[in-house]
Amino acid sequence: MIVADKKPIEEIIDYVKDHQSILVLGCNECVTVCEAGGKKEVGLLASALRMHYLQQGRDVNIGERTLERQCDHEYLEEIRTSVDNYEAVVSLACGVGVQFTAEKYQNLPVYPGVNTLFMGANEMRGVWSERCQGCGQCLLAHSGGICPVSRCAKRILNGPCGGSTGGKCEISKELPCGWQLIIDRLKALGRMEDYEKISPIKNWSTERSGGPRKVVREDLKL
């Protein structure tokens, strides 16, 4: 899922400081799962904003709403009429949701309430870590199911580098060396001979470098 983290409250307050009525809009999917932008977080942010404005002596209307998703037209339509009551929206969805909401409601400023970080998994309560960078040419079949693009800080395809120490990456003792993980897995799968196969130069044109991407499925278009 997409993992995001809450923006500091002072940053959000700065975004909305000139508005008299604000809708805090949450999302029921990824940001709910990583506890950054779901219904609960909408409630907490709204409460915090109300206390802030009360102390300022300003009468600011803070609305709360959580949509199923903010990346689908049909859910964003649900606020078509209610959105007119507000001068601005703070969207706690990931960067996708913020933008899609802004595209749909062109005359309304939409501010992000979270920092969107990566595609990752939930290791345990409170801990999420990166697993995929969307390179567009998945090579997991050759690396024992562990991705050298997202788990190696240098995205080396023929690793490990000389800085790998005790199974940890040279940049942090907290970070497992992606290549150590790959090697351990190749060993467990009895496929160590795969290690010596040279991974060829990668075609990066399907990742970010190639420009904003799109998937079109003719078989699904009406």
Partner: protein, 310 residues
């Protein structure tokens, strides 16, 4: 092994004589004299001089420019190139730039992560890794073509090297990794500096068993310790460095003013021992900010005078 390039380093290695290389770090500024002065100190005691490439991600004068300086002095540079800072276009471009000055040696590296240096907020590139860089240089030299397929006019004639660290983890793939680099086309290897000679000899014996020492020249890396403090720092704070306790103990047991002298002595002892290891073709002496000691080390280790080749 056959000589394939005009590289002086390659010629010395191919003749079966021990080669000696060292390195110079370029300045954190644009003064060319920093490079030329360092080179002057060591030029008669080494066969080729590596110029580091923004080492530990600290921004410095680029390796290519400093290599050109050495070339203009009539010396033999080794262009160190990391893939951290350049995409494949810039890499091929810099290789051609080096080749236009007849720089004939390149050391292919991935490069330390940028978080170690002065621009931790910058992006890194790693369009290619060190293995793929080796393949690229060989392709440009032997096929005479760019990665995109077009022919290169006056292809580079570079002797291709890489670094290898026998002491990094996991140990069990360090020889397979050497094999991989050789399969990718590497022709010489400079190892990370050696303090754990037992472990190194083990790595060498495994490399010999696989016939790797017949396919590439291995230069053993050595760095003299300046002090017990330096030994401790390198033991505990530098990733991929193996400094045995005895090394630290020996220096710590020496009075402070004599520690540097002891460090030089230990370096020379290592070289003497490593000379006897089958498959070692030479030494890479890295005396960082202590270049003035290189001539003494080379002489006392019995590696002087340096051979002359045409």
């Amino acid at each position: 092994m056959k000589v394939k390039t005009p590289s002086k380093l390659e010629k010395i290695l191919a003749s079966g004589q021990m080669a000696v290389t060292s390195e110079c770090g370029p300045p954190r500024g644009s003064d060319p004299h920093v490079v030329t002065h360092k080179a002057e100190k060591i030029k008669n005691h080494v066969d080729a001089i590596n110029i580091t490439d923004n080492q530990t991600s600290m921004t410095r004068m680029c390796s290519l420019a400093a290599c050109i300086r050495l070339k203009l002095m009539g010396l033999e540079p080794v262009l160190q190139m990391v893939t951290r800072d350049r995409n494949r276009i810039a890499i091929q471009s810099d290789i051609l730039g080096a080749a236009s000055f007849d720089i004939n040696n390149i050391l292919c590296l991935s490069g330390d992560h940028q978080s170690f240096g002065d621009c931790a907020q910058g992006q890194n590139v790693y369009d290619l890794d060190s293995m793929q860089l080796i393949q690229t240089v060989r392709h440009m030299r032997d096929e005479g073509k760019f990665l995109g397929g077009d022919p290169i006019s006056r292809p580079p004639q570079m002797f291709v090297g890489a670094a290898e660290n026998p002491f990094a983890d996991p140990y069990e793939i360090r020889v397979p990794r050497l094999a991989k680099k050789i399969a990718a086309g590497v022709e010489f290897i400079q190892t990370q500096c050696i303090y754990n000679l037992d472990k190194f000899e083990d790595w060498m014996s495994k490399a010999r068993d696989r016939g790797l020492t017949d396919q590439a020249y291995i230069l053993a890396g050595v760095t003299p310790m300046k002090s017990a403090g330096m030994a401790k720092y390198m033991k505990n704070r530098v990733p991929g460095m193996d400094v045995p306790d005895e090394v630290v103990k020996r220096l710590a047991g020496t009075p402070k003013e004599k520690q540097a002298e002891e460090g030089i002595k230990m370096c020379i002892e290592s070289i003497q021992r490593l000379k006897e290891v089958k498959g070692i073709s030479g030494f890479h002496i890295m005396a960082i900010e202590w270049e003035e000691m290189v001539p003494e080390i080379v002489e006392r280790a019995g590696l002087y005078p340096r051979p002359v080749v045409d």
